[in-house]
């Protein structure tokens, strides 16, 4: 029932109770053994009917609104918490996936780096070996050349020493007669070539 109808009905009952409380037909003796004052009873009913919308308006409705608001707030909080939890799970899953992917990429990169390092090592070792071989060959060529030079120097010295000895022997054995013969031989055999 509408609160205003209850309020109006209560007022009617209250006024009616006040109006009839002193009437003879409303005395308890009129109700054979029943101690009922009809005026007071109607008045109380009226008061009761007036209090119902008032209580409803000033206590029950705000209390209900506060409780509903609290419930909605709690529901919202729970919903938000649930959303956050879902989001967190999603993020955790995503993070784990990314972590696994990152770990896989890191492992792949490490493997690639190891492979590249091994290739580089092989290449460097190969180059070092080639350079070592080239140095050895160059050294062998130089040794051979130095050996030839040393032999040439020794032979040149031998030639010089031999000719010096021959010069000394010839000089010691040279006399005027031999010198004259040499000059005469030169005069006989000398010729000019074009």
């Amino acid at each position: 029932m509408n609160k205003y109808a209850l309020l109006g009905l209560g007022i009617v009952f209250l006024v009616f109770g006040f109006l009839v409380k002193d009437q003879s037909w409303t005395r308890p003796e009129m109700f054979s053994g029943l101690q009922l004052d009809l005026g007071k009873t109607v008045t109380n009913i009226g008061v009761f009917l007036i209090f119902i919308p008032v209580i409803n308006m000033y206590f029950y409705v705000p209390l209900k609104e506060a409780m509903d608001s609290r419930n909605q707030e709690l529901e919202s909080t729970f919903t938000e918490a649930e959303q956050l939890r879902t989001q967190m799970r999603t993020m955790k899953t995503d993070y784990e996936a990314r972590l696994m992917k990152t770990e896989a990429e890191a492992r792949e990169q490490i493997q690639n780096q190891i492979k590249e390092a091994q290739n580089l090592k092989q290449q460097l070792m190969s180059e070092a070996a080639e350079r070592a071989d080239a140095l050895v060959r160059h050294a062998q060529v130089e040794i051979e050349q130095e050996k030839k030079n040393a032999i040439l120097t020794i032979r040149t010295h031998v030639v010089d020493l031999t000719l010096a000895a021959a010069e000394k022997v010839i000089g010691e054995n040279m006399d005027s007669d031999k010198n004259r013969r040499l000059v005469a031989e030169f005069i006989d055999t000398v010729e000019v070539t074009a």
Partner: protein, 184 residues
């Protein structure tokens, strides 16, 4: 120090004049005598070369010494050279003059170096042989150099005819070294 171009210029003038008056040999003999005196007589050389001696004094002295010993042409050239302060070029003029005379006569100048002095027969035989093979008259200068050990070496122009022991050993050394280098 003698200036070669100056010597050449004086020598050419002197030679052309001597050629004109047919006194080439006389002038050369004069120049040889003067140069010989300069080389052997240190006092005479110091007098002629000394810058502090006056030109007139030098010319007068030269006139007194050489006027009746050398040709007038040679004496005149000496005077000119002393006047021009060209005393140091006298020897160079003689050398250039001799070269001009040899070129004019077609003579080859040869230097024969031997370990011992050659006798006249050998000298004549050598000059005769050189004239035969070169087809020109030879003027030879004979030198002694014991370093060549034995034999003889003749040098003329840009050529050398080497019949010395030293030359033979040197050739042998060159051939042996050449053979050694070929083996490398």
């Amino acid at each position: 120090m003698a200036d070669h171009r100056v010597c050449r210029r004086y020598a050419q003038a002197l030679f052309s004049t001597a050629l004109k008056y047919d006194t080439i040999r006389s002038v050369e003999d004069d120049l040889n005598a003067i140069v010989g005196l300069l080389q052997t007589d240190e006092g005479f050389r110091d007098f002629v070369i000394a810058p502090y001696t006056g030109r007139e004094e030098k010319i007068a002295t030269i006139d007194r010494i050489f006027s009746d010993r050398i040709t007038a042409l040679t004496l005149q050239v000496l005077r000119v050279m002393l006047e021009k302060r060209r005393e140091e070029e006298i020897e160079g003029v003689r050398d250039e003059y001799v070269k001009l005379r040899r070129d004019h006569e077609g003579v080859i100048y040869a230097t024969a170096t031997s370990a011992e002095a050659l006798d006249e027969l050998q000298k004549k035989a050598l000059v005769s042989k050189l004239e035969t093979i070169l087809g020109k008259k030879i003027e030879a200068d004979f030198k002694i150099d014991p370093q060549i050990i034995g034999g003889i070496r003749v040098a003329y122009g840009n050529y050398i005819l080497d019949g010395s022991i030293r030359g033979a050993l040197s050739n042998l050394r060159d051939r042996l070294r050449h053979d050694l280098l070929k083996q490398l």
